[in-house]
């Protein structure tokens, strides 16, 4: 059985890479390359899988919520992804890279009996990125 729990965080970012010239960055990333940055209300879905335990749960809700809050939300909520999140240092702050960073944040302290099987992040209601683990 799988359980999916949804979380939200707001963050700013700017898509840019030192590997390209300013003109090439502007062409590639368009408005997302705005030097002043911009922000999103991200929606994070965390999916875990496992058998139902004696308590009738595959994961303790408070334990899952605390893990996500401490490992992810505390690092990214109301933060600038480019300058304040070490897990994204040196990486373009695309939602693809953000999903990998969230996976690393979670697995670094994963102590729950259920298995982490999916991280899904919606940057906006129109763009969703799903990482199967």
């Amino acid at each position: 059985m799988q359980l999916t729990s949804r979380y939200r965080f707001a963050a700013s970012h700017r898509l840019t890479t030192d590997a390209l010239s300013p003109e090439e960055n502007a062409r590639l990333y368009g408005k997302c390359n705005n030097p002043h940055g911009h922000g999103h209300d991200y929606v994070l879905d965390v999916t875990v899988e496992g058998p139902i335990d004696q308590a009738g749960q595959i994961v303790n809700r408070d334990a899952l919520n605390a893990l996500v809050a401490n490992q992810v939300l505390a690092r990214v909520d109301h933060r600038d992804l480019n300058s304040e999140v070490p897990e994204l240092a040196g990486r373009v702050t695309t939602t693809e890279n953000l999903a990998y960073a969230v996976e690393r944040m979670l697995t670094a302290r994963w102590t729950l009996p259920a298995k982490l099987v999916r991280v899904r992040i919606a940057e906006t209601a129109r763009n969703t990125f799903e990482l199967k683990i």
């Binding site: 729990s5 308590a55 809700r61």
Partner: protein, 139 residues
């Protein structure tokens, strides 16, 4: 091909094991262990897998599926206190996981045809929390 039908029911419950102390239940279930109960607007998404019948063009008769979901799930659970009024939740803690498992049990036998089988039960306890259960492979 997958086919999904959605239904809603509102119900109250208590997530607590009577064999455990109040402190133990609070540690496991948090606010959900409140002995007075609380409620949710549950949303269930029933997914069938199958091939369209060559004559009807349908995987499963949607009217029949709606009727089955209502008779087996919505009618017995809607506006009920699950622990007190809906077996087996007098004995089984009505966590989202256990309710999804019970819904699977109630539906699976009635949905099996040569063309279609129950593939997944997704049960939303809130818009931010759901479980997926595929009883066929035990996952």
């Amino acid at each position: 091909m997958l086919l999904t039908r959605k239904a809603e029911f509102s119900a109250s419950h208590i997530c607590a094991n009577p064999a455990l102390s109040a402190e133990e239940n609070l540690a496991i279930y948090g606010v959900n262990a409140n002995p007075h109960g609380h409620g949710h607007n549950y949303v269930v998404e029933v997914t069938l897998e199958g091939t369209p019948d060559p004559v009807t063009g349908m995987v499963f008769d949607l009217r029949e599926l709606k009727e089955i979901i209502h008779v087996e799930v919505v009618d017995p659970m809607d506006h009920r206190f699950l622990n007190r009024e809906v077996p087996p939740f007098d004995k089984v803690v009505p966590t989202t996981e256990n309710i999804a498992t019970e819904i699977w049990k109630r539906l699976a036998a009635r949905i099996a045809t040569p063309n279609a089988r129950l593939k997944n039960v997704r049960l939303y306890e809130t818009a931010d929390l759901y479980v997926d259960f595929d009883g066929a492979d035990g996952k």
